[in-house]
């Protein structure tokens, strides 16, 4: 479904992403982790055609992301970055309706309204459907944007640091949502995360990056170990299994 072949991004002489290759086919949650400046978001942005690719290729469903038509890709892959300012004053339902744009080009059909209603229900947003986005809290607004992405109804969903600015309760509910999208809707979800423990708790597979390269790529058990985490982050940690969940602990 998603295939990145030796993707490279150059800023001047520095290789922000350096020959990263990644293949994603099965439904599930894949977390990309790594220290600041490791190139996680840049890699995601190149796959999502938000940034031009300097070297290498990226394919979605066999379509070259730099060549394929925008709307054909938009029916296969969706991406959500950190929220940026909206120019229009929209209600939650308006925003979710935009998720249907690749399918209906702005003229919502009965089927689109069914999808919008489903997305509202999936994120428990029905009571807020007619509220304007600027009247919502940060967590609620984040949910509205995720609902838009779900209404887009793509097989693959890329989320760039969806836990930014969320408190622990909202962060957990966001990750549970991501999990449900993979389990109940069969989506291929890729999340860029900072917190190893969130990746360990909710992901099926972890891709760890350092200095633009993918250093480890595998199931949680293979990645979340004391040696690997130390190699990736350059920080000694303790990894313990707590109630069946690999957990990273830090010394004072």
């Amino acid at each position: 479904m998603i295939e990145a072949v030796a993707l490279t991004k150059l800023y001047g002489d520095s290789r922000v992403v350096d020959g990263a290759s990644l293949t994603l086919d099965a439904p599930g949650v894949t977390a990309i982790i790594g220290p600041n400046g490791a190139g996680k978001s840049t890699l995601l942005s190149m796959i999502a055609r938000l940034l031009p690719i300097d070297e290498g290729k990226a394919f979605v469903d066999g379509l070259d992301v730099t060549r394929a038509k925008g709307d054909e890709l938009a029916r296969r892959i969706s991406v959500l970055r950190q929220e940026n300012g909206l120019l229009a004053r929209l209600t939650v339902r308006d925003l979710i309706g935009f998720g249907r744009f690749p399918h209906s080009k702005g003229r919502l059909t009965a089927n689109d309204h069914v999808k919008i209603t489903e997305a509202l229900a999936f994120l428990d947003l029905e009571p807020l459907a007619e509220r304007f986005l600027d009247e919502l809290s940060g967590g609620q607004r984040q949910r509205a944007f995720v609902a838009m992405v779900l209404a887009q109804d793509t097989k693959a969903i890329l989320l760039d640091e969806p836990l930014n600015n969320l408190d622990i309760r909202h962060a957990v509910s966001m990750m549970r949502l991501v999990r449900r999208a993979a389990d109940e809707l069969g989506k291929i979800v890729v999340v860029v995360l900072h917190d190893i423990n969130f990746a360990s708790a909710y992901a099926d597979r972890i891709v760890a990056m350092r200095e633009g390269r993918i250093v480890v790529d595998g199931p949680v058990e293979a990645v979340v170990s004391e040696e690997t985490i130390e190699a990736v982050f350059g920080l000694p940690v303790l990894v313990r299994e707590i109630e069946g969940q690999r957990t990273c602990l830090f010394r004072r």
Partner: protein, 341 residues
């Protein structure tokens, strides 16, 4: 509209209490649009009839072109401003603040300097108009396309660049105007600072056709522009190419600015005034609603204002100054409000 048909579906599927606010919001903006339309028609009727004495066959040809020019210019300024604000991703910048009409003045001046007054006065006005517009589109794309097409979200930098470009174009034009001989200057001044009182009828016909075509093109682009208003990244994710859409729209905006500047000369803050009022009155959920409201408000301001000034108060040609004054105050208010937030 896009969701008129869909409303029934969602209404059937949901609790009616949740659908009610949406209905109310829609009805509010539709009522507001109807009210503005009535007010605009009323202004036009008043302008045509108030104080009209003598033979209608004299009054009509005398007043009708002026009315048509005001409607065309008002619509062009409203449309270009609202679209430009979407392209630049904020509600402060307008084509005039970014120096678009100063660019037009510079192109006009250059033409007189390079080709000479004899050529400019003798040439077919339509051919000339198209040539100017083509040059304007090229320059606008070259200068502003790279500036706002690449997702530059730094508002202060954009504003600064726009103001400086505007000053640069104005200074260059002013410099060249001092170099040319006085006769050429008079010809130029005639072309640059035309007012509603001296509309050329043949140019008006071209303007109506050009603006009609641009309006139709934008009408087709509206759904994509709605998506672009969500931000560059979201637009790409939804399959809209922001660079292509921005370049296409900038070209169309350049046509609108050329037409309105050619007809009545530069107006700096008028677009900002009508666009801000439109957003305040009907909101900004869909471009279609905001655009219609902005156009109607522009017509009300121009035609209504001109009627009151000319026929009721007996002044002449002061409308531009008053509108600029009000528009300037609105601009300051918006900037200050943003600063406080």
């Amino acid at each position: 509209m896009a969701d008129v048909a869909g409303n029934h579906v969602s209404a059937a599927a949901e609790d009616p209490a949740q659908v009610a606010p949406k209905r109310a919001a829609r009805q509010h903006s539709l009522r507001m649009l109807a009210f503005l339309a009535v007010l605009a028609l009323f202004s036009c009727a008043l302008f045509m009839t108030l104080g009209a004495r003598g033979n209608w066959s004299f009054v009509l040809p005398f007043r009708a072109p002026k009315l048509a020019a005001m409607i065309v210019v008002g619509h062009a300024i409203a449309l270009s401003t609202v679209i430009f604000q979407t392209l630049s991703g904020n509600r402060i910048l307008t084509p005039s603040i970014m120096g678009f009409d100063a660019l037009y003045a510079l192109i006009q001046t250059l033409m007189v300097v390079v080709a000479g007054t004899a050529f400019v006065t003798a040439a077919d006005p339509m051919a000339l108009f198209f040539a100017q517009t083509a040059v304007m589109i090229l320059f606008a794309l070259g200068l502003y396309g790279s500036l706002i097409g690449r997702g530059a979200r730094d508002l202060l930098r954009l504003l600064l660049v726009g103001v400086i470009l505007g000053v640069l174009f104005r200074s260059l034009a002013g410099f060249l105007q001092r170099l040319i001989d006085p006769n050429a200057f008079v010809v130029l001044q005639d072309r640059l600072y035309a007012s509603f009182n001296g509309i050329e009828t043949d140019l008006l016909a071209v303007a109506v056709v050009a603006i009609g075509l641009v309006t139709f093109a934008f009408w087709r682009l509206l759904p994509q522009l709605d998506v672009l208003a969500l931000g560059r990244d979201t637009a790409i994710s939804l399959g809209v190419d922001p660079v292509r859409l921005t370049q296409l729209s900038l070209g169309l905006v350049a046509v609108l600015v050329s037409v309105s500047t050619a007809l009545v000369g530069p107006v700096t803050f008028f677009g900002l005034l009508v666009a801000s009022l439109a957003v305040a009155l009907v909101g900004s959920r869909r471009h279609a609603e905001t655009l219609i409201a902005a156009s109607l408000i522009a017509v009300i301001c121009l035609v209504g204002g001109q009627t009151i000034l000319e026929r009721v108060l007996g002044f002449d040609t002061a409308l531009g100054i008053i509108i600029e004054f009000l528009g300037g105050i609105v601009f300051l208010a918006i900037v200050l409000k943003r600063g406080i937030q």
